[in-house]
């Protein structure tokens, strides 16, 4: 008797989504750790860069699997969007960390640590939401995670705004203005990309739950 292997094949996608979101959470945590203990920066940045490479590899695997799979558990487009959105978060985290090196930042600001904390919390929400995709009857729980991610993105917006006001209020060193504007911008973009992940997840719930 031939057993159909439809479900096991679908499982592979869920495994890969979870691998991607775990990797993203690890990158966020490494950034937070680096900002709390700002030493050996070069080594710590290279660990985050490793997460970024790992993210690229996972993305590559998902796209390859997508192109070779006939029946997918979700719309191909949604799988594609979810994968790139998660990858974009990791890219931004890595870019922000690397900018600390490039611009020879000597000491993180308190705002920067707040950004890292928002990012870790957003990444945790995503990482809790993604495994719920496996269970149609629990998919609706994803929506609450999405609401929280949206709230955190708003918090990051306000944080960036306040940091910029402070930066331009009394700009003693113009080069510092350029530096910090860039770093805050990268981190705000990272939370924007978390919101993109939430948007894709929300759309997937709408269609399937």
């Amino acid at each position: 008797m031939v057993r159909l292997r439809l479900i096991p094949r679908e499982e592979k996608f869920f495994d890969m989504f979870e691998k991607a979101s775990r990797n993203m959470l690890e990158a966020a945590k490494l950034l937070q750790e680096m900002l709390s203990h700002y030493e050996d920066v070069e080594k710590k940045v290279s660990e985050i860069t490793e997460r970024e490479h790992q993210g690229d590899a996972i993305t590559h695997d998902i796209i390859a699997k997508l192109n070779s799979t006939f029946v997918t558990p979700f719309d191909r487009e949604d799988i594609h969007h979810l994968t790139s959105a998660i990858d974009d978060v990791v890219d931004r985290i890595e870019a922000a960390a690397d900018v600390m090196l490039i611009y020879r930042i000597e000491r993180p600001t308190p705002e920067l640590q707040k950004f890292a904390s928002i990012l870790v919390r957003s990444a945790e929400e995503i990482n809790s939401a993604v495994p719920l995709l496996r269970k149609r009857d629990r998919m609706k729980e994803i929506l609450n995670r999405c609401i929280e991610i949206n709230r955190l993105e708003n918090e990051a917006d306000q944080l960036q705004r306040a940091a910029l006001v402070a930066l331009f209020e009394n700009p003693t060193n113009t080069i510092d203005v350029i530096r910090w504007r860039e770093i805050y911008g990268q981190l705000e973009e990272a939370t924007d990309r978390c919101e993109d992940v939430a948007d894709v997840l929300q759309g997937m719930v709408m269609k399937h739950a």
Copy 2:
């Protein structure tokens, strides 16, 4: 007797598109008004921010309706693109207005007022084009609106270019260079997003007219 409600259901999408484009036009007009009478800036920015929230709510409604509707008057993807493109225009207008506050701009430049005027005219073209989607026999009129939006976007490009040349020709205050570059950039992006709206509209006409 059961009456099919296919047409009324379609109508809802057109109503929502028009609501979105009217909201966008109002945001552009509020920006123009703020720049002509540059006082009570904080209050005026908050009115534009309200438009931005309103835009988010309309976008949300359209996407929700899209996900719950089986037969849509246009391709789902086109509806999605049109909606986000209009929303992006409002976002940029709000960002530009907010930057005036964040960077404590004391007085708008003449270039800024020209930008606002281009934006209002682009928004008016979009707002005149969107209702024409309702009538297949008049859809082709949309194309002339799109040509004008493209022309306006070109005008904005030239304006930004000239403003940047002036800014870098004689840069007395570097912080001002950073400030104005950002504000002009946001406004030029707003007209770019108007062009995106025109591109989507044009594609929809091509398919249906």
Copy 3:
């Protein structure tokens, strides 16, 4: 007897893709030439701007043909992505050249010439890959081109990184920091867009080869 004209009609798309990629390669070469012989800059930039207009016209033709063609040689979405990605490369090349004028750059840096060389090589890879789309049995050769484009994009990343480190290490003139950061950014974006072209090509090979 009626002869079906299915194949000739498809040919038109391939012709247009090749026209677009040749135009992109010419733009890259014009930039490289301008940076090697940095004189008559205004005239040379206007030649690159002409390429940009030409690119817009080709893109317009492809989209118009897409909207009026029932059977296309590839997924409509892929044709659309490929076309805009190639167009984006030209846009960035033109923007980078124009910024040289706007910011009144007096002399190109060695880094800038290296960027131009990477761009020309990426454009050459794309220009060699695109004609292979015509032949299903040779499509797989495209993948090697894509690998090389990815390698070149990495090289551009490293180049930008090194240029920024140098720029911020000893920032004597803040306005110069702003200027060069922008120019390097545009060029790095151009190689990013080349990578986007490679991604689309790779996806097309996966589906059809």
